[in-house]
Every structure is written in structure tokens, then in C-alpha cells.
């Protein structure tokens, strides 16, 4: 089936089974490998992307659900003003160790800060509660997101 959607601001089209997983289409058909696959079961958040501005785990999203929608991945978000502020804060704040969870973390942070630019620490923890990190113990990620929030005008 021909499937049209908007990917990081560009209109795209693929011919695929509508029940293919969105993550596979992003990584394999479009080479957008910033979206990571951890658990394949919706538990780890490594595959997070935005679907019409809403946070989703792309391992659970059937491609057909993206028809006519807008999908934003880490590759699209990193060059936005908010995206680059978050990434800088992560780098400066020592939030990154192995890095596997980071694209998903950045997407969750982006989603939070775009609707709530000045969250409390609890709100930050809740916003990334679906993103697992095996390395950092979360504290430096949380403080980096709070730092990004402070740097927003």
C-alpha cells in the first residue's frame, strides 16, 4: 500500500504493508538511524519519535497510523532552536554515557519543553519516565533538562 506522510518537514511516500513498524521504515527505508531499538515492546523509549507532535514509541506504531501525519525524529529535531539547546545542555551537563537512550531522552525533553518550558523537577522525571537509561542513574539527565529550561528565553 502507498503510504504518504510528512517526515521531518518533507513530504515522503513509501510502498509498504500498513502494519510494518514505523521504526523499521524510519531506520531502513529512510536511513534515520538516530531512532534506536532497545526492547521492541514499548518499555524503554529508545525508539521515541513525535507523531503529530505527540510522543510515541515507534516500535509500537503501525506505519498506517502515520498516513497523512507528521513524524519528527531526532534528525529533524536536533537542528531546531529548542532541540539544539537541549542537546547542548546534555553535552555540557554530562548527561551522556553510552548514548543509546539519548535520542529518545532528547525527544521526550523536547516534547515536554515545547508545551511546558519551565517544568518542575518532578514534571521532568515524569516526562522521561518512559525512557530507560542503563548508564547514568538519570540525575544528570534531569539536571540537564532543567538547565535547558533555564536557557530558554
Amino acid at each position: 500500500m502507498k503510504i504518504d506522510f510528512n517526515l521531518n518537514g518533507v513530504q515522503v511516500s513509501v510502498d509498504k504493508d500498513p502494519l510494518s513498524r514505523l521504526i523499521d521504515v524510519l531506520r531502513e527505508d529512510f536511513g534515520l538511524t538516530g531512532t534506536k531499538e532497545g526492547c521492541s515492546e514499548g518499555e524503554c523509549g529508545a525508539c521515541s519519535v513525535l507523531l503529530d507532535g505527540k510522543l510515541v514509541t515507534s516500535c509500537l506504531v503501525p506505519l498506517g497510523s502515520a498516513i497523512g501525519s507528521r513524524v519528527d525524529t531526532i534528525e529533524g529535531i536536533r537542528d531546531t532552536k529548542l532541540g539544539s539547546i537541549i542537546i547542548e545542555s546534555f553535552a555540557n551537563g554530562g548527561a551522556v554515557q553510552c548514548g543509546f537512550c539519548i535520542p529518545g531522552m532528547v525527544i521526550s525533553a523536547y516534547c515536554l519543553l515545547s508545551s511546558n518550558p519551565h517544568p518542575t523537577e518532578d514534571e521532568v522525571r515524569l516526562a522521561i519516565s518512559g525512557n530507560l537509561c542503563r548508564c547514568t542513574g538519570y540525575d544528570l539527565i534531569v539536571s540537564s533538562i532543567l538547565d535547558a529550561s533555564r536557557r530558554l528565553a
Binding site: 514499548g42 510522543l55 509500537l60 503501525p62 498506517g64 518512559g130
Partner: protein, 288 residues
């Protein structure tokens, strides 16, 4: 073959013609069908994706003043709508984490018929009904009649859940209790969830109505009108003396296979907590 429907009419026609299995948010189905990186998920038989059927996405009151929640409404949408009764909002707001709540639908939660599903508990206590649609017409039944047991429902192979209907309830309950015990705040699958509701008479002396349901205590969500009748008609001041008999009677209804002692004790503690708080007639109506 897998199908995508863009209108309710189209969805019902495809369902009738092909008997394809319905997929809404996919959060249950995509997990059970996944085969790992780069692989097409494996489904048994044809699938029908209904996530674009906008007719099933509304929340609103019908002409009889009942609240109708479209089957495709997500947990995030339900949690954020103040017209939805508090216990259902609370349950929706604790399902998984942000991304899960943006995809998981109420229709999928009911049709999935997991004893650990979070939404049936409050829906049972609220006497909510499910509306089943097919090309040949609609039928309605209590959610508690629709769910037969583990992964079993009364859904016919040409039907799609259209909406969940919550009876008019504004002044129904004076006190509602909802509490979920899970392992962690996010992604916590329920180990035990108890919903209770009490309506008092005008003088606030007599219990006019009482509801009690428990999730994750057997093959499906449990509710028993017999147990509820032990409390209905009793004085508020007597509530604390009713904890033991209610708990004993409810014990015979639930059948926790795993951790029975924990589940029975925790249920008892929650009943005791709710009754003793209500006996003091506090301002606070919603209790967790």
C-alpha cells in the same frame, strides 16, 4: 491482507467482508506480533487498522445526559478531560508512561480483556456500557457482561467497539476511591487496583449506593452486587464495623492466583481506609 479504514462505514464494511482483526493503537497487538529489528510483525490472519476513523474519537454527553467516550479515545485524552469521572481519569493517567498513554485506546483496553487492564475496574463500578457496531446495527451491554474472562469477550467477528457509555453520574457519588498498586510509577502493570464509590442520602447519614471492584485478582475484573448490598442502606456511622464482613464476602468473589495473601490483605486495607475516611464525612471527595 491488511487494511486501513478511513471512515466508520468503511471499517464496518471491511470487518464484515473479511473478518479482519481490529487494530486501534496497536500497543497490545504490535507487542505480541513483533519479531524484532527490521522484521514485519507476524499476525494471525488479516488485520484492519482503524486508527484513522475519526468518528470514534469523541468524548461528549448524549441526549440522555450520559457521557459517551469514543473507542479510539486514548488514555491521555481521557485523563485530560474533566467531564470524565475521576476514577476513570485517575486510572487512565497511570497507564504506562507518556508515549503509551498517547496510543493506548479505551476500546483496546476493554477488548484486550486482560485481568490487569486498568480501565475495566472503574468502568465496572460506574455501570458503564459498551456499544458494539456492525453493518447490521448496534447493540449495547454492560462492560462487565462484555468481558467474559482472560482475553475473552462477546465481540462478534463483524463488530467493532464504537463507544463506552457512562450513565449520568454528576450527583451520583459523594466519595470515590481508586488506588493502584504497581511496581513503579511509570509502565506499572497493576498488581492490584481497587475502585470504590459511595453515595449518601441528603442528610448524609445513610449509604444509598455502594460500588466495589478489584482488578488483577483473577481471570477478570471482579465486582459483586451481593457484596455491595451489605453496605447499601447502612448508616455512615456503621461503616467501620462493615469492613470485616465486606472483606470476607469479597474474598469469596476474588480468586487471586498469584500472591493471594498480599492481594487479600491489601484489598482489606483499602476497604478499611476508604470506610474510615468516609465515616468522618470529609470535604475531599476523591481518595487515592
Amino acid at each position: 491482507m491488511n487494511y486501513v479504514a478511513f471512515s466508520l462505514k468503511q471499517a464496518l464494511e471491511i470487518r464484515k467482508a473479511t473478518k479482519a482483526r481490529v487494530m486501534a493503537g496497536g500497543t497490545d497487538l504490535m507487542v505480541s506480533a513483533q519479531r524484532g529489528e527490521g522484521m514485519m510483525p507476524r499476525f494471525e490472519g488479516d488485520m484492519l487498522l482503524i486508527s484513522h476513523v475519526d468518528e470514534l474519537r469523541h468524548i461528549g454527553f448524549n441526549a440522555s445526559g450520559e457521557l459517551e467516550i469514543g473507542a479510539l479515545c486514548t488514555s491521555a485524552q481521557i485523563a485530560g478531560d474533566s467531564r470524565v469521572p475521576w476514577a476513570l481519569r485517575a486510572a487512565a493517567s497511570r497507564m504506562g508512561a507518556v508515549a503509551l498513554r498517547n496510543c493506548a485506546t479505551i476500546g483496546g483496553n476493554i477488548a484486550n480483556a486482560s485481568p490487569k487492564g486498568d480501565l475495566p475496574g472503574p468502568l465496572y463500578a460506574l455501570d458503564a456500557r459498551v456499544r458494539l457496531l456492525s453493518v447490521d446495527g448496534a447493540e449495547e451491554m454492560l462492560v462487565s457482561d462484555f468481558i467474559l474472562g482472560l482475553k475473552k469477550t462477546k465481540l462478534k467477528d463483524d463488530q467493532i467497539i464504537g463507544a463506552i457509555i457512562i450513565p449520568k453520574m454528576d450527583e451520583w457519588f459523594d466519595y470515590i476511591f481508586w488506588h493502584k498498586i504497581g511496581t513503579r510509577r511509570a509502565n506499572a502493570i497493576s498488581k492490584l487496583t481497587v475502585t470504590m464509590a459511595i453515595k449518601l442520602d441528603q442528610q448524609r447519614k445513610i449509604v444509598e449506593d455502594f460500588r466495589l471492584s478489584a482488578t488483577a485478582c483473577g481471570a477478570k475484573t471482579n465486582r459483586s452486587r451481593e457484596v455491595e448490598s451489605l453496605v447499601i442502606g447502612k448508616k455512615v456511622q456503621e461503616l467501620e464495623d462493615l469492613v470485616a464482613p465486606v472483606q470476607e464476602a469479597f474474598d469469596k468473589v476474588i480468586s487471586p492466583r498469584a500472591m493471594p495473601v498480599f492481594r487479600r490483605t491489601a484489598t482489606k486495607n483499602m476497604i478499611a481506609d476508604f470506610f474510615s475516611r468516609v465515616a468522618r464525612l470529609p470535604e475531599e471527595r476523591n481518595m487515592e
